[in-house]
Subunit: 305 residues, 3 copies
């Protein structure tokens, strides 16, 4: 089943059927990857446009393309953004459409992904537009939940840390809303609670959620999704320092617990390294799941899956 859209901008555009199809193709891609990749996208070129650097996301997309035999051209960072000072995103995408077969973009401004897609004559994937959306992260999170827990319907997920500015927990919430009986425990300091646009979404969709500042209420969930407090969101550095390590998950806290620990990475102390050796620790596997999920999306949007 081909996806009913050409560009992936937001998780909001996904139906449950689309999402399940992506997860199914991702599982096939994981098998292909384990066998060393194939040549499905041979002759195809991915343009990776990172106005804002994100090595993790970029390497994940680039290796996904290469595992399917495709090629990559990259523009990243300071030089790239300064160069195009003055050129509109729309013009850049019209130009890139002449060179490559599919484009991925990370950009610091919310709404930039929609502008880019509107001008792109090749398939376009949003790899994060500032505080906006990051749909491929949400899809790999969902894929990880399904792999680790064996199901998505009926899951109990605790989200911890910066729920206010944490783009990943927003995108994932919308995606989980497509499934049945998902229960959310939202754990954050008062300054960083889940915004109304997301809790409103929970209410509209009759999703069960509770809010607390006590991390212990998340330890018996199926999944505990830790997030980093991002320094760049705070004007006041002391405020950042105070909130940064309010929640630190340690091996001692997880003793006897079955909860799957996830984190979009990088972590800066929210999860002690003594957790890494536990079976609960899924965060590096989660990062690895980005590759098959992105292989699936690249192949599907190029009409090759």
């Amino acid at each position: 089943m081909p996806l009913p859209f050409k560009h992936l901008i937001s998780t909001r555009q996904l139906t449950r059927a689309d999402t399940e199809e992506i997860l199914k193709v991702s599982a096939e891609m994981e098998k292909i990857r384990k066998k060393g990749g194939n040549e499905l996208l041979k002759g195809k070129i991915l343009a990776a446009l990172f106005y804002e650097p994100s090595t993790r996301t970029r390497l994940s997309f680039e290796t996904a393309m290469q595992r399917l035999g495709g090629e990559v051209v990259t523009a990243e960072g300071i030089q790239f953004s300064s160069l195009y000072k003055g050129e509109t995103i729309e013009d850049t995408l019209q130009m890139v459409s002449q060179y490559a077969d599919i484009a991925v973009m990370r950009h610091p401004e919310q709404g930039s992904a929609e502008k880019a897609a509107s001008a792109s004559s090749i398939p376009f994937i949003n790899a994060g537009d500032g505080p906006g959306q990051h749909p491929t992260q949400a899809l790999l999170d969902l894929y990880t939940i399904e792999k680790e827990c064996g199901r998505i319907d009926g899951i109990h997920i605790a989200m911890v840390g910066d729920l206010r500015y944490g783009r990943t927990v927003h995108s994932l919430s919308y995606l989980l809303g497509l499934f049945k009986n998902v229960r959310f425990t939202l754990i954050s300091p008062g300054e960083l609670t889940m915004p109304e646009k997301v809790t409103g979404f929970y209410r509209e969709n009759n999703l069960s959620f509770e809010e607390t500042d006590d991390i212990r209420l998340g330890l018996d969930a199926d999944v505990i999704y830790m997030t980093r407090v991002q320094q760049e969101r705070f004007a006041d550095r002391s405020e950042y320092e105070r909130l940064k390590l309010k929640y630190v998950l340690s091996a001692a806290m997880l003793k006897g617990k079955k909860v799957t620990v996830m984190h979009p990475l990088p972590r800066v102390g929210e999860i002690s390294t003594d957790v890494d050796a536990l079976k609960n620790a899924a965060y590096f596997r989660q990062a690895g799941n980005g590759v098959p999920v992105r292989m699936a999306l690249l192949a599907m949007l190029l009409g090759k899956a």
Copy 2:
């Protein structure tokens, strides 16, 4: 017919026969690209050395190499230039000649391309040396004129904007000088007129040209070639602001006109976006033509065309 040189530094080294051969091979490359590329340059490596970032030119060369099955290594920007502070361009090229099969270089200093070529034991292409030459841009411009107008001999071209510092209009002028009965209408403010070295070339070669500051005199030409006024050429910012948008081409001005609109891009306002939807607008197709022209040059200089 192989090209009678190993390195492409300037359009001045091209004869009409060379130029026509490059255009012919470019047209073949465009067909190959439309079929998804081939493996003509499999096993070959292009080194893309961008001391000065130019994402557009770099992506165009890199995808050209990849469409022919070749590989690319890239060095771009600040880190690259700071690293080699102290190393001569000649040493860098001697080193790169040990790694790659062909090299492309963009450098901010005029004359750097000649130095680089003198030390390169592999074929070398100048991708712009400051205010000097940018021969592959001129060749793709010429290829675009031929494709859009069906001929080059007898063409009437209006060049608009910053004719003084605009490297592209100089290189293109020299190349058009190889053809018959080309007529130039040069449209610029008094501060930015075509330099004597180029008008002298017109005179020596009996090329017809006229100078004006009225853009309306260009609207009935076969081609109107718009250029951007480059801020970096002005010490005085207010001078730049005053001249920047002296000529803005809009859809209204093109009503009933057949003129082909070209621009080397990026534009920063010289062409209204309402022109984009018109048949006249050839500038994004022009950017796309960079790929087959560079495929042709890479293949020809590697002896594979």
Copy 3:
């Protein structure tokens, strides 16, 4: 014979047998490269992680991977390091291990390579950790000595310039210590003599060495290994300026001499360009030898040689 280790961090971990095996495979790789490469590493991905830019080393590794049909993903420089401010090297390597099949890292801090290797589940190669080790440079130096002189046992090598901070002469010394009857002439100003850790190694291993500040004592050796005085090692700029060009090798000094001239490059004046045309000048061939040596290491560590 597979190498008895998964990660290459230091030349100190190499036995004579390992070293000879690497040199043997390198010679085979040089033949493969001359025939245009092969597909030994098709489907494999190298992650090139350059926290500190080093275009020379990076391009050498990247082209080595490509000559064997493998793919490369790259993270380099300012953006990369600033992005991961806060993430440990161990976490970065755990993440990269999910994407690529082998990793190469250059990092400004001594000891970073050991940290990285400890967390890497894929083979890892140290491409320089600050003032620490740079084992692939030492191996390509050794390969060059063998090619140029026909042997390593019994060689007389003069090392010239900054022997105190010059990482390459330290790593090479350890490696030459595995061979028989190697004689060292150490030529430097008093401020930049070989550190005790290396001269102590000479003594423990009964290696013959002499120290002097007179470059003429090196001109009858088999190899004269010139080094650059690195500005970044000096707090006092005038001190740097004074020592920088204390030793400048010129064609006149080499008249009638058979000594092989080596240099890890870049040079900033220590070798006059009039030396380049002499048969003695091996430094660009030396740079070129980096490719087959790195092809050998990539293939051997991936279990494909």
